[in-house]
Amino acid sequence: MNYFFQQLLNGFQLGSVYALISLGYTMIYGIIRLINFAHGDIFMLGAYFGFYAITRLKFNFLLAIIFSMVLCMIINVIIEKVAYAPLRKKNVPRINLLITAIGVSFFLENFTSLKIIFGPDYQPYPRPFKIITFDFLGLTISSIQIIVFLITLVLLLILDYLIKRTKIGLAMRAVSYDKETALLMGINVDNIISLTFALGAALAGAGGVLYGICYPQIHPYMGIMPGLKAFVAAVLGGIGIISGAVLGSYIIGMVEVFTAAFISSTFRDAIAFAILIIVLLTRPQGLFGKEEGIKL
């Protein structure tokens, strides 16, 4: 029984990291219908920036997270303006945008693994705070888990406030419903899109640092699998829907941890995609999504 609850905690931890990545996917898809393959690599960059901040710049933990978030935001906005925006302007078919995203992803991964940049080897991640474990009702809770929960919670609350209670959030929602009309309403759609990329990157960057703290080995290709799974989580919850991404992430996190713990750890990757297939076959619009009809 204890083992079960212990895994529950682990699942919650993993789910939190996935949530931070997944939100970026879902927001970007919601706004420009792009599956941003490069998003997982922003997450990877976030982990590396955090690493750099803690080990070289000797930042404390919170400052490192903020540092990482800011850098990721800047990079993602640059990518958007240089690679995606010109294509959107030209009205190319969506496949081209997707391929560009794939190109960006490959570029980030391979550039980072060049020896003069970060190098291809696994880097052990520092833990710049004392790890205390508590015993609570027979469970062992580590301060890492608490920190992950708290930071994720804070970021989610900030995002929620931003989306639901500010004018900018309203603009974001408007653009994701109907870009043309939003444009006619005087919303600067390009800026909103850049902002969405920035927000998604910030969350992913934070997620990267947290991931590094929890599973302390990073490498340039670390973003691929978590990125894919976070994407699956977004689809599970309903792609384009923020609450869906969060719920989906926790479900995927839980299922993955439980599969590894109770079935076999070799199947932990496959289980997320098995869930994906089941969702797509039974309820493709996701848990919170609405069915789309054909307009004839």
């Binding site: 219908r33 690679a83 081209n96 391929i99 190109g103 960006v104 894919l228 990757d269 797509l280 789309e292």
Partner: protein, 291 residues
Amino acid sequence: MINLYIIQIFSYACCITISALGLNLIYGYTGLFSLGHAAFMGIGAYLSALLTKSFSHYGYFIYIGAIISSVIFTFLISYLIAIPILKLKSDYLGIATLGFGIIVKVLLDNSDKVFSQMGGSRGMLGIPNFTNLPIVLFSLILIILIMRNLIYSKFGRNLIAIREDENAAYAMGINVYKQRLLAFALGCSFAGFSGALYAHLYCFLHPSNFDFLRSIDLMLIIVLGGLGSMSGTIIASFLWVFILEGLRIILPQAILDWRLVIYPLLLILLMLLRPQGIFGNKEILWLKKEY
């Protein structure tokens, strides 16, 4: 020695072209966004290798049998998978096929628990080297012929109609769903064919040869060549194989890793400058015909 090496690369390029043509049939001509194509190559490769290794005393005959079995098996399995999956909309179809590809890879990684010969994540060794240049060239020409004749007939027209406007296609008496199933299964069987050839070319298989990154490579090739253009796919496949290999030879050791940085940058540039790919949807020479 150099000649043998070039021949092997050329043969590899032929295999990739066969697979890419299959994907072009599925996506370029029918409009089905499939991101799991390499998985079907893997299924064909591993099945054929298993057969030739298990029945190696039959020599050449088992090779032919293995190839035929791979083609039929990938056709059937992709048809079955497609039945539920093709009911999904484009983006979701891509995601589902991606997921399928990953599941296949995980199954292949664990294959040694069922058939120890398959080697699991250690890879499968000792596959007899039956594939040679004449065989692979013959296969490529065969596939090109089949595809060309199919496209410029009733069936190709059905697929193009479906790609252009699904509802108009229904309104013209086309059984959209069934045609999609057939196109998908046929395209995947090309992949299975190519996998079987590949297995007996390099004589070593590893699940990572057929993971989703490889599926993405195939997608890149057909977009770069031009969707809905056979000529484009053929040329793009060869260019892609030879340029990547070529860079590996030309670049000095010190900056070898840069080829993996340059390649995506070129990709992005190409998307910006020529999004319709090299050929767009045009054909050249004998591949060009009226519908």
